[in-house]
């Protein structure tokens, strides 16, 4: 069951999750965002782009773990991009080198990268988090990658510092950074590689606006969705999103969904209130 693939070449790589206490080995700040590197060899070895980990908030005040996308993987480390937007995520974002966080993962479906010859990465705000991992894998496979990230303002755009994507375009709602307007408006102004697959992550309104743009160009598109979660493993049905096949769990059926399958509406974005009340 836990066979080492090196010892048993017929054994498929084990993608199953582990639950471990992981030490922060590097912490970089970009305004309200922190890029935490954690020593998590088993998770790093098993993770795929688009997967997430459930992260416990130290201090005992918070019951639920926080789902965080894997920003990237480097050797035995996983990197997590955290935005301090609620009390719990503020604790996580304040993590210092030497602190230990409980991680469970990797969880959820990843982005399917097989056969992808070129990619357009589209993000809104903290939604950018999983796209570095996608870029790293595709660049390693020598596929052209273009990124388009949208932000509210210059403060939110500081998270760009956490990314290394060679061709990255930026828009902001207030025009303080990059092109003024939404990220979908930005897409019309950039060169998209032929036959690019679109990988997106961001607020519901962005995904809703992106879906027709992608469909109109006949591209394949996938979005990684955010949701409030409790279990992260498909038990509680707390994190569902409407799809053409009915409600589906972001944690277990996603977080990656084909844009075609989503019942997108520019409705309320549950990610804007991380903790209520």
């Amino acid at each position: 069951m836990d066979a080492d693939p090196a010892l048993n070449p017929d054994h498929e790589l084990d993608h199953r999750a582990v639950s471990r206490d992981c030490r922060i080995v590097e912490s970089r700040r970009f305004g309200a965002f922190s890029l935490l590197s954690l020593a998590a060899p088993e998770i790093a070895a098993r993770a795929a782009p688009g997967q997430f980990v459930m992260v416990g908030v130290p201090g005992g005040r918070f019951l639920l773990r926080r789902p965080l996308s894997l920003h990237s993987v480097a050797g035995e480390r996983v990197k997590l991009l955290v935005e301090a937007r609620g009390e719990g995520s503020a604790v996580l974002a304040a993590g210092e080198v030497g602190d230990t966080l409980p991680l469970a993962g990797p969880l959820g479906s990843g982005f399917r990268l097989e056969g992808v010859t070129a990619a357009l990465l589209v993000a809104g705000g903290i939604g950018a988090a999983p796209l570095q991992f996608v870029a790293d894998e595709l660049v390693a496979a020598e596929a052209p990658v273009v990124g388009a990230f949208g932000f509210r303002d210059a403060a939110q755009a500081r998270l760009v510092g956490a990314f290394e994507i060679e061709r990255l375009w930026v828009a902001s709602d207030d025009g303080s950074v990059g092109r003024r307007g939404t990220v979908v408006e930005l897409l019309d102004t950039i060169d998209v590689p032929d036959g690019a697959t679109v990988f997106a992550c961001g607020p519901a309104a962005m995904v809703a606006a992106l879906a027709p743009w992608v469909a109109a160009r006949g591209l394949a598109g996938y979005a990684s969705l955010e949701a409030h979660m409790a279990c992260g493993t498909g038990a509680c049905h707390g994190c569902v999103v409407p799809t053409r096949a009915g409600y589906r769990r972001v944690c277990a059926d996603g977080p990656v969904f084909a844009l075609d399958d989503l019942e997108t509406s520019p409705g309320r974005d549950p990610s804007t209130t991380e903790e209520a009340p």
């Binding site: 409030h228 509680c236 903790e275």
Partner: protein, 335 residues
């Protein structure tokens, strides 16, 4: 062996309990809807089926027909707890049975949790389950010694939760009791004036056990818009915030009925579990704590073992009911 010897660790505490026909190695069960064994086993390394951490497994509520559930958002954290408004999303009995069959390899007993919005639906589900369980060849069916009725769903006829009405609860229990000889537990809702009144009615109608409490009806607002946050508007509150409320109700019910009581509500530690047993519970269920980590049940059982060693307790019977309420406080009616 003397108490002093026990305190030195000379005695292995016996955590086993008997719950109706079930002899369980320890008293910690999962609460329905908070732990999905098949999903967890498919995701986590190790073999959660072979090394099942709970004493018995309570799957998510099954209803006769599929239920889509409530619109999102369905869940959020609250101070010392969480609120949910899932709306019993489930694929219905037909799609549930294959998953139940996959639990045949589980050594622990399975307590099938059944929901519905009218008595007929509960009866139909239990009848179908009885046929299905009897039809299985050896090794094809899990060990299902018990049912747990989830009576918190609103009754289509009245709009009220069946479990909020003592007479409706008794009627339901009587009808289900007529179609099964298995151990029948009723999971009581705390959203009543007197949980004891409903408990006594269920017992009188033939319930073999009672589990409590389900979640407390509650409201959370979106802090920005000041409108209800949940898609289902109101939701059920659980987690450590409700533990004192749950302890009070468990003590009231355990003091009033003869059938075994399974206590739950905000248990996150072995000490919490022991407190419910001190209030008269035979066993306990762990719910929201499962969301804090896959390791929660093992940790809670280990902590319970430590609590017993520290106190020099040989078995749970020594503390069960220690926190029994004085007679005048048992009615459950507020003064």
């Amino acid at each position: 062996m003397s108490t002093a010897e026990r305190e030195r660790g000379g005695l292995e505490p016996d955590l086993s309990v008997e719950l109706g026909p079930m002899r369980l190695p320890h008293p910690v069960l999962n609460a329905s809807g908070t732990f999905d064994l098949l999903e967890a086993a498919a995701r986590y390394e190790g073999d959660l089926v072979a090394e099942f951490p709970f004493a018995a497994y309570v799957p998510k509520t099954v209803t006769l027909e599929p239920r889509e559930g409530n619109p999102p958002p369905r869940i959020t954290e609250t101070p010392a707890g969480m609120i949910n408004s899932v709306g019993l999303q489930n694929p219905g009995l037909d799609a549930y049975l294959p998953d139940l069959a996959r639990l045949a390899a589980l050594a622990a007993p399975v307590i099938v949790n059944v929901g519905g919005s009218r008595p007929h639906d509960f009866v139909a589900v239990v009848e179908r389950l009885e046929e299905w369980l009897e039809a299985g060849r050896p090794g094809e069916r899990p060990d299902v010694p018990a049912y747990e009725l989830n009576v918190s769903c609103p009754n289509v006829a009245t709009g009220l939760a069946i479990g909020a009405d003592a007479a409706a609860t008794a009627d339901l229990v009587g009808r289900v009791k007529a179609v099964t000889r298995r151990f029948l537990m009723v999971k009581l809702t705390p959203n009543v004036t007197s949980v004891v009144e409903v408990a006594l009615a269920a017992e009188a109608a033939g319930a073999d056990g009672l589990s409590l409490v389900n979640t407390f009806k509650a409201l959370v607002l979106d802090g920005e818009t000041l409108r209800p946050f949940l898609g289902g508007v109101t939701g059920g509150l659980c987690g450590p915030a409700i533990k004192p409320l749950a302890l009070r109700m468990v003590a009231e019910v355990a003091g009033a009925v003869r059938v075994p009581v399974v206590g739950m509500g905000g248990i996150v530690s072995g000490r919490d579990a022991l407190e419910f047993i001190a209030c008269g519970a035979t066993a306990v269920q762990v719910g929201a704590a499962n969301f804090a980590g896959i390791d929660a049940p093992r940790r809670i059982v280990a902590e319970l073992d430590n609590e017993m060693r520290r106190r020099g307790l040989a078995g749970l019977a020594a503390v069960r009911g220690r926190a029994a309420l004085p007679q005048r406080a048992r009615s459950g009616r507020e003064s």
